[in-house]
């Protein structure tokens, strides 16, 4: 190796450059996109979404807008255009797969840094803990949110394009569903971030995230049954994510009411963000 006299570039001024959270976020995104896991989930969600759109098109729109207008009374009875149908765009099956994806991807976000002992090196740069956590939280929340937004806006756009206001998806449906998706994504992000911070490897982060999700749901069912109050169901993460779309559209059904859902969401957000904050503090990142 030839040795040259070191002539390094000048030091950047304090505060110069991109926000650290953005740099770390891009790093995580690149890391996940390179994994087979990321490609698998991308394909799975795309396939389900495609099926949903085809179903919408075939069942409701192929007959044509004019024919439906002529058969309006029959169409009204036949087309499930009510609030329950809108809430079903964020359906249980998709949310369950999303939990799985969030646990796998989010569970590794902090744990991978722990495994490779990256955090001390990051904190040896002018990076604050809140930059680090913000990057991880944005990624853990942004990924499920992006999937859910696709499930909201693609059927909505398709319905509007083909049938206008008379389509099966309400023109105002995103106003209801986007806040629900935000709440669900925030829950998934906080829980997987906390789980990942507890774990020493991505695999155990996945285990922690799934365990917390299933464990809290099981506990909530036990408490609700034992105490005879459905409000306790809001302790379960699975119940919370299932309840949000129905809640914003006013078709909550048998689940916990709005107050328990709000309290349960706030509780989980506070708890798991506090866990992540504690476990990623700079003085815990020992060389």
């Amino acid at each position: 190796m030839p040795i040259y006299a070191p002539s390094l570039a000048p030091r950047p001024a304090p505060g110069q450059g991109q926000p650290a959270a953005l740099v770390l976020l891009r790093f995580d995104l690149r890391r996940v996109l390179r994994q087979r896991l990321g490609k698998f989930f991308g394909f799975l969600f795309a396939a389900i979404l495609l099926g949903l759109c085809i179903q919408l098109y075939l069942r409701h729109l192929m007959a044509g807008r004019g024919a439906l207008e002529a058969l309006r009374p029959l169409a009204d009875a036949y087309l499930p255009q009510g609030a329950r149908f809108q809430a079903g765009l964020l359906n249980e099956g998709m949310i369950a797969i999303l939990w799985l994806q969030a646990a796998m991807v989010g569970g590794g976000l902090v744990a991978r840094d722990t495994l490779h002992r990256i955090r001390p090196l990051i904190y040896a740069h002018p990076v604050r803990q809140r930059d680090y956590l913000l990057a991880k939280a944005l990624f853990a929340t942004g990924l499920p949110l992006a999937v859910m937004l696709a499930y909201i806006f693609l059927p909505w756009g398709l319905s509007l394009a083909v049938a206008g206001g008379a389509g099966p998806v309400w023109p105002t449906a995103p106003l209801y569903l986007v806040p629900a998706a935000l709440a669900i994504a925030a829950l998934m992000g906080a829980v997987t971030l906390g789980a990942s911070a507890l774990a020493g490897s991505p695999r155990s982060g996945f285990g922690w995230a799934l365990g917390i999700m299933l464990g809290s749901s099981a506990l909530s069912f036990i408490l609700a049954g034992a105490l005879g109050s459905p409000g306790w169901l809001a302790l379960g993460l699975g119940n919370l994510t299932k309840a949000w779309p129905g809640l914003v559209l006013g078709v909550a059904g048998d689940g916990p009411g709005p107050v328990p859902v709000l309290l349960g969401t706030a509780f989980h957000l506070a708890l798991w963000l506090a866990v992540a904050r504690y476990r990623t503090r700079p003085d815990g990142a020992v060389l």
């Binding site: 002539s7 950047p12 110069q16 770390l24 990256i118 002018p126």
Partner: protein, 307 residues
């Protein structure tokens, strides 16, 4: 540049560093942190690089406390021990991210990256994933990430571990040049010979205490007080023993079947005389083996000496 005033560090109930005080001036130069494993070298590095706050006393780097202080952290570079990246990640992308975390971007980042890779000899090889790089290449990239933002203080934790002799010499050359250019370099090691080749000043740590501070000759003199045990395998051990008792450095002698164990002070003075005796045919020696030439034994001796 660096001032520690009775700075100590606790890990729960365990005392990682006893209160220690020292000062290092700015303006270049190399300082060695010498001590066996568990001596507190990494703890001291974590205090200096702002990863941990002191449990007691004060740590000042560039006149300010370094813990969670971006103004200080922007002026120092840390080369940690061992790998610190996902194996599948490409070296240049990793460096780019580290540069961005230090506030570099755009053309300034490209220029810094190119120069640093050239300085560390990785210009043609940084685009590989880490998992396909040799240990030496990974070590160079660890150094490169610390040099990207032109730090005034460069701290290296056991940088020579796993490097081949050529790699060590090259790294030493590079560190000397950086120090000559005005960078204050702190190098930790548990091998005296490595530090002695490199530094003008040594901090000797043992069991979390600052045992000695001084130049390499001063530390060598201190270490020479420790009798080193040498096993000499000889055809006639009694002849070797007879010769050894006349030497002023001999502290103790033990006869064994087929050889003799000599405890000598100042081996650097004793060994040339032994060599001369062997070459002149005075002594018939088949093997010479140091029994306790490790720092643990030396440090244990010094600690006993200090009590």
């Amino acid at each position: 540049m660096i001032a520690l005033e009775r700075a100590s560090l606790r890990y729960g109930d365990i005392l990682g560093l006893s209160p220690l005080s020292f000062e290092l001036p700015g303006g270049g130069g190399i300082t060695g942190l010498l001590g066996p494993n568990g001596a507190g070298k990494s703890s001291l590095i974590q205090l200096l690089t702002g990863l941990l706050p002191p449990s007691g006393g004060s740590v000042r780097v560039f006149g300010a406390a370094p813990y969670r202080n971006p103004a200080v952290l922007a002026r120092l570079g840390l080369v940690p021990e061992g790998d610190r990246y996902p194996g599948a990640f490409r070296g240049d992308r990793w460096l780019r991210m580290m540069g961005q975390l230090s506030g570099l971007e755009g053309r300034a980042l490209d220029q810094a990256l190119a120069r640093t890779l050239e300085v560390t000899g990785m210009a043609d090889r940084a685009a590989q994933p880490f998992q396909s790089m040799s240990k030496g290449m990974r070590q160079r990239l660890r150094l490169a990430q610390a040099l990207l933002h032109a730090p005034e203080l460069l701290v290296l934790d056991e940088p020579f571990n796993g490097l081949d002799p050529e790699g060590r010499l090259q790294l030493m050359d590079l560190l000397r040049q950086l120090a000559a250019g005005g960078t204050r370099v702190i190098v930790s090691s548990h091998i005296l010979a490595e530090v002695a080749q490199l530094t003008d000043r040594i901090l000797l740590l043992f069991r979390g205490r600052l045992l000695a501070e001084g130049s390499v000759p001063e530390i060598r003199e201190l270490l020479d007080r420790h009798p080193v045990e040498l096993r000499v395998t000889a055809e006639a051990p009694a002849v070797v023993a007879r010769w050894a008792v006349d030497q002023p450095e001999l502290a103790a002698l033990r006869l064994e079947p087929g050889g003799v164990v000599l405890a000598v002070r100042s081996p650097r003075a004793f060994l040339p005389r032994l060599q001369a005796a062997v070459l002149s045919g005075e002594l018939g020696i088949r093997a010479l083996e140091p029994l306790d030439l490790n720092l643990d034994a030396v440090f244990a001796f010094l600690t006993k000496d200090n009590q």
